[in-house]
């Protein structure tokens, strides 16, 4: 899992690497900005940042095709940006404005885009797992070859409904990739303090589900594993589990003092395993981009994020009539 050593030349094009760099950087800068806006009181309630875990969603999106679906927990900003949702609409939802994806009525944890096949944004730990299997159930019923990515954390992995879902997903051969984002901490409880299972993906074996652990800080490893899982699902071989070994740099939410781990542990991950630095390294040492090229991208991303922040401040609050709309179809 060492990342800083001189990279072997992976079999990946310059354009692909640049895209991953750009997509991961967008998530990081977006989340940093969201943190700032939270500090300024422009974002309220709970706000869970994705910083550190960017390679997971960017790598898996690289394995997806149009029509595939995704669903996740409340730590969802990265997933939305990675699947092509507009940064303005996401940020404006965080500030509770009419320009947000849910017209300001959902908030950070409850956002959706039917157009981009993003099915939330769920605030109840583990709920998205059967919901995701249900999306896959519908695709199988309708006879298309779409696949659903159902993301959940190491904390949700201990929920009973996850195992009820594993059982039915395998029984009915549903085209769903269960993505466990193991960032080592369920809020403040480390994996070691919540289970004696040596690995989370292996629990699928009890139901006959194939799976594997993946270096979730390496976007190329994530993409390769995603392609394998997706191919199995499209071939009708049923569900697949990917346990992404990853790390969140920030607290569980904005109000988390993070006393459950040391600053050194975080610093070590940042300096040795950072997903964005890894791709930056590949680009520079492989001679695929210059420092100036990357600086230009950084500048462009910064502009995008600033634009989203401006939009999220300027977009008006929903009109009072919105209190009473969207309750019934």
């Amino acid at each position: 899992m060492a990342a800083k050593k001189p990279a072997e030349r992976p079999n990946v094009s310059k354009d692909e690497l640049l895209k991953y760099y750009r997509d991961m950087l967008l998530i990081r800068r977006f989340e940093e900005k969201a943190g700032q806006l939270y500090g300024m009181g422009l974002i309220g309630g709970f706000c869970h940042l994705y910083i550190g875990q960017e390679a997971v969603v960017v790598g898996l999106e690289a394995a997806a095709k149009e029509g595939d679906k995704r669903i996740t927990s409340y730590r969802d900003h990265g997933h939305m940006l990675a699947c092509g949702m507009d940064s303005r609409g996401v940020m404006a939802e965080l500030t509770g404005r009419i320009g947000g994806y849910s017209k300001g009525k959902g908030g950070s944890m409850h956002m959706f885009s039917k157009e981009r096949h993003f099915y939330g944004g769920h605030g109840i730990v583990g709920a998205q797992v059967p919901l995701g299997a249900g999306l896959a159930f519908a695709d199988k019923y309708l006879g298309n070859d779409n696949v659903t990515f159902a993301y959940f954390g190491d904390g949700a992995a201990n929920q009973g409904q996850v195992y009820e879902t594993y059982n039915m997903a395998e029984l009915w051969n549903l085209p769903v990739v269960f993505v466990i984002e193991n960032n080592q901490y369920a809020m403040g409880t480390s994996v070691k303090r919540s289970t004696k299972s040596p690995s989370l993906w292996e629990r699928g074996a009890a139901y006959g589900i194939k799976g594997e652990a993946v270096d979730g800080m390496d976007v190329l490893a994530v993409k390769a594993a995603g392609e394998k899982a997706v191919a199995a699902c499209r071939a009708g071989e049923g569900p697949y589990i990917l346990e992404m070994m990853t790390y969140r740099y920030r607290g569980h939410s904005m109000s988390d003092p993070a006393k459950y781990r040391t600053r050194e542990e975080v610093e070590k991950m940042r300096s040795e395993k950072d997903a964005i630095e890894h791709v930056r390294d590949l680009l520079l040492t492989g001679g695929l981009a210059t420092d100036d090229d990357l600086k230009a991208i950084d500048k462009e991303i910064k502009a995008t994020v600033n634009d989203a922040a401006e939009f999220s401040k300027e977009s008006p609050e929903p009109s009072v009539d919105e209190l009473w709309t969207d309750i019934y179809a």
């Binding site: 059967p130 249900g134 019923y141 179809a329």
Partner: protein
């Protein structure tokens, strides 16, 4: 000494059945545990075992006989050397000799519901052609018709397919629609409810059968947090066109964990619609509307009503809209508002009150979300008195909500406080006498009406 073999009760709500087939004939030697007959209930055909060793003396009920009441003697068993005609005189005192467990239940007679056939009250328009069917058949017809009309409607739940439905509601649907559309699930309400809600977002219109709504408590997070709230949380992008249906409320003698009316719970949730049919016509018309509704619908059925027969209009595509109450019986002295099985008490009470010269108007709410306030208020403004009737718990009941609404919107029309007849504030007891007391009763409704009429 000859003993009697009695018609057994084979389910908590069985009152009579058909003696479909004898598997023994007079003079046969039978062993305890040997299957001697097949008995058809409204739910299933069951094998019936002898509880004793002996020789079949007389078969008292011919095979093929329908409507044989529970505890009717159907055969005699004699001992070796005894005449087949040996009088079962002693059996009169020894009715429970055929001590199969089911018979024990029958002895402690379940509360007898009103006769099924020919129920006099109807809210159907005059002159409309009807046919008699049970609530059970009406529910099945509603699902079958909607599944024929829309290939994306499917049924899922425990025992809905190969078993033909735990309460036989889905009988025959697997044969017609196949396992893709009639999906048997493992016993995992939390999981399969989440899957069904996800499927509703993915373009399907699921019907989820809960064997009973008691088990839906394991799934209530998905019903409320996932199904009811998503349209709002997504700013109108994604709704959940899904029906959650099954038996709700007290059945008979199944104790506290299997006897709860959830009407008031679900009716409290914005984003859900809630229907609670009383008659077979309600069941059919409301369920068809529920399946077509783009919103999540809670459809609360009642096991005791499943076997009751009513007139149902014969017409293509008979539906009943949500939010439209019906007046089951017109009256002028008091308004009695009820829904579901509560109407059994309300209507019986109205009948008794009529003998005392009190004219009760009985309203069938049909849906609890939306509630047809206009019909209730118009009636109360006419009668100036109101009693509500339901089997659910008293605190935070539908009756409480109606009382508050009537107070706010028709205070000056009231000549007496509104009284809520409800189930008692206790978990459901098992003992037959206590169970009766725990539910509301016709006598309580009569007393409440007399009280608001100052009689």
């Amino acid at each position: 000494m000859a003993t009697q073999v009695l018609m057994p009760a084979l389910s908590p709500t069985m009152e009579e059945g058909t003696l479909a087939k004898w598997l023994v004939k007079e003079g046969d030697v039978v062993k305890s545990g040997q299957i001697i007959a097949e008995i058809e209930t409204d739910k299933a055909t069951m094998e019936f075992e002898s509880a004793d060793d002996g020789i079949v003396g007389k078969l008292l009920v011919a095979e093929g006989t329908a409507g044989v009441k529970v505890n009717t003697p159907i055969a005699t068993l004699v001992e070796e050397g005894e005449s087949a005609d040996a009088a079962p005189a002693a059996a009169a005192a020894a009715a429970p000799v055929t001590a199969a467990p089911a018979t024990v239940a029958a002895v402690a007679a379940a509360p007898a519901p009103v006769a099924a056939q020919g129920w006099p009250h109807s809210d159907l328009p005059e002159g409309v052609a009807t046919k008699t069917m049970t609530v059970r058949e009406a529910l099945r017809e509603a699902m079958a018709e909607e599944m024929r009309a829309n290939p994306n409607v499917f049924l899922m739940g425990e025992e809905v397919g190969e078993y033909q439905g735990a309460y036989k509601i889905s009988q025959g649907l697997l044969d017609e629609f196949g396992p893709k559309r009639v999906v048997d699930t493992p016993i995992t309400e939390h999981g399969f409810t989440g899957i069904a809600v996800g499927a509703s977002w993915g373009g399907l219109q699921p019907i989820v059968e809960f064997m009973t709504f008691n088990f839906a408590m394991q799934a209530i997070d998905h019903i409320i947090n996932s199904a009811a709230k998503t349209l709002y949380m997504s700013g109108g992008q994604m709704g959940s066109p899904i029906v959650f249906r099954g038996a709700n409320g007290a059945a008979a003698r199944v104790g506290a964990q299997h006897s709860q009316d959830y009407a008031a719970w679900y009716a409290a949730i914005p984003g859900l619609k809630v229907a609670m049919p009383y008659s077979a016509a309600d069941a059919k018309g409301l369920l068809k509307s529920a399946i077509r509704d783009p919103n999540p619908v809670i459809f609360l059925e009642n096991e005791i009503l499943y076997g009751r027969s009513f007139e149902v209009p014969v017409q293509d595509d008979f539906t009943i809209p949500f939010g439209k109450a019906s007046i089951l019986r017109a009256g002028s002295d008091v308004t009695v508002v009820s829904f579901g099985i509560g109407l059994t008490y309300a209507l019986q009470a109205a009948e008794e009150l009529a003998k005392d010269g009190i004219s009760a108007e009985v309203i069938n709410l049909r849906t609890l979300r939306p509630i047809d306030y206009d019909t209730i208020l118009a009636s109360v403004m006419k009668t100036n008195r109101c009693v509500t009737v339901e089997e659910g718990f008293p605190v935070g009941s539908i009756g409480n909500h109606l009382s508050a609404t009537i107070m706010q919107r028709a205070f000056d029309h009231l000549d007496a406080p509104v009284i809520n007849c409800t189930g008692k504030d206790v978990p459901m007891p098992y003992a037959a006498n206590l169970e009766k007391l725990a539910l509301t009763t016709t006598a309580e409704v009569v007393a409440a009406v007399k009280s608001v009429c100052y009689r």
